[in-house]
Homo-oligomer: 156 residues x 2
């Protein structure tokens, strides 16, 4: 490390601030487009549910949280009208969690908005620099999955 390098603790700060700005921007735009009650957490849950739906246990596995936590989150999303539970005809234990039309709409919009935000970043620092940034991050982080237990992880 040469003397011109910034202190190491700034690196995670920059990463997080970037993350937070993107998420905040997405949700600000989603609010304008008719989804004001979606939380940052929810977006990742939608992503994990996908258009085909899943079960609470599988969702928990994908998100790296307990099945109870996943169930609670689904409860909240169900109240908001973004997902619905359907009984699996082949297995009476399972309840398939599926996106409602509203959920699919939100997922499609957020994907579009994320692309737009990425384009804004590309316009600011250049497409090649942005691709390098993403590639470098992928290099150092490896294939680590996204874990959703953020509140508990962060605060303990």
């Amino acid at each position: 490390m040469s003397t011109v390098d910034p202190p190491g603790f700034l690196l995670p700060l920059r990463l997080f601030i970037g993350f937070r700005q993107l998420i905040d921007a997405v949700h600000a735009e989603l609010a304008r487009e008719g989804h004001p009650d979606v939380r940052p957490l929810h977006g990742f849950v939608f992503q994990a549910i996908g258009r085909d739906g899943t079960t609470a246990v599988e969702l928990a596995r994908r998100l790296g949280v307990s099945k109870q936590a996943a169930g609670k989150t689904v409860d909240g999303l169900e109240r908001l009208g973004y997902v619905e539970r359907a009984t699996d005809p082949a297995d009476a234990r399972r309840k398939l969690v599926r996106l409602t039309d509203r959920g699919v709409d939100m997922l499609a919009r957020s994907a579009r908005i994320f692309d737009e935000l990425r384009a804004e970043w590309a316009a600011q620092i250049g497409s090649d620099r942005l691709r390098a940034l993403e590639a470098d991050l992928a290099t150092v982080t490896g294939s680590e999955p996204f874990r959703l237990d953020v509140p508990g992880w962060f605060a303990g």
Copy 2:
């Protein structure tokens, strides 16, 4: 956006995973060095307190949370022995929150470990690429401060 660009939603994911890996690595090493009970949240609080100490209200302002939340966090840190409250001789209302020796030790260690981790990233992708990454992040995020209300922000 050209067709070879990845979907935009991967960008925040990569940023967050990078953030989380750094934080996890720091705390794993801190645990090995005698600070097993420090949470990710706490590190940022230490940073905000600094070696000179502050008051709960000022801390709240710096961290972007309510003064009550800041007070609670200080309570927890006090229980763990990382900070102590001293009455301000010049102003009987104020209670100065200061790092204990243990708190200072932890802060110094985490700074060192962050530098080491940054050096590891530099070794993987190259010092110049890392500096570019940091510079580009600074460009797109501007001078946005770090806000500590992560649990509430994320989950709502």
